[in-house]
Amino acid sequence: MALVAALSQEKFWFDKSKYDDAEAAYYQKSAQ
């Protein structure tokens, strides 16, 4: 399937939520 081959060459931020959680925790700690 050409689409799968094309998509596999693209870059996506798969683990963005991991970074979002870590950033929120870091700034929540400094805020509190």
Partner: protein, 215 residues
């Protein structure tokens, strides 16, 4: 009236955004026929116009070059799609960024392992389903009292968010999973059945049964 060539591989949901926007605005956007993904976008000539080598990429007939699917869709759209007032324009942008930063990462993390595009990682996979649920819930609450995402007519917000949801609705949102999101399903079905959307993306087949992840 904007006219030009869009470089992309077939069935690219990102390219759909500009092609659908052009149907509404009557911009004359043609998909390059001689484009081979992985080759054309690596040539010197292409990289000179489009330094990141990414698609979709757009070149207008008067030589203006743009990359990024949302920027291209914005350029070939019209004021109706972009939003009338400054606030509406900002709301359209808000939903476009919602699609890019809240829906797309979760969609890829869920759909790509199912399609065998990336390695299955249980933790990331399970988390992506939660993220998809919360994104669909936000849409569902917003669409309880609204037909479209911004104002009373279709805008780039509807086009971009619906295009970004295509992989989810066709590959992994089976009837069971999507059942609670009544307003989002209603909105999505309306958007994909607009003639401008259908001419570009064709008939959207809703997922009946999620394919097993290829471990």
């Amino acid at each position: 009236m904007v006219a030009g060539t869009l470089y992309t591989y077939p069935e690219n949901f990102r390219a759909y955004k500009a092609l659908i926007a052009a149907k509404y605005s009557s911009a004359d956007v043609k998909v390059a026929s001689n484009f081979v993904f992985g080759e054309t976008n690596k040539t010197e000539e292409f990289l000179k116009k489009f330094p990141s080598g990414k698609v979709p990429a757009f070149e207008s007939t008067d030589g203006k070059c743009l990359q990024d699917s949302n920027a291209i869709a914005y350029y070939v759209a019209n004021d109706q799609l972009r939003g009338k007032s400054d606030f509406e324009k900002s709301q359209v942008l808000q939903w476009i960024f919602f699609a890019e930063t809240e829906i797309l990462p979760a969609s890829c993390a869920w759909v790509f392992p199912v399609l065998g595009i990336i390695q299955f990682e249980k933790k990331v996979f399970e988390r992506s389903k939660e993220d998809v649920k919360s994104a669909l819930n936000i849409l569902d609450a917003h669409l309880l009292t609204r037909t479209y995402l911004v104002g009373e007519r279709v805008s780039l917000a509807d086009i971009v968010v619906a295009c970004t949801l295509l992989h989810l609705y066709t590959h992994v949102l089976d009837p069971e999973f999507r059942k609670p999101f009544v307003n989002t399903n209603r909105w999505f079905t309306t958007v994909i059945n607009q003639s401008q959307f259908k001419e570009v993306a064709g008939e959207v087949k809703f997922c009946e049964k999620v394919a097993e992840v290829d471990h």
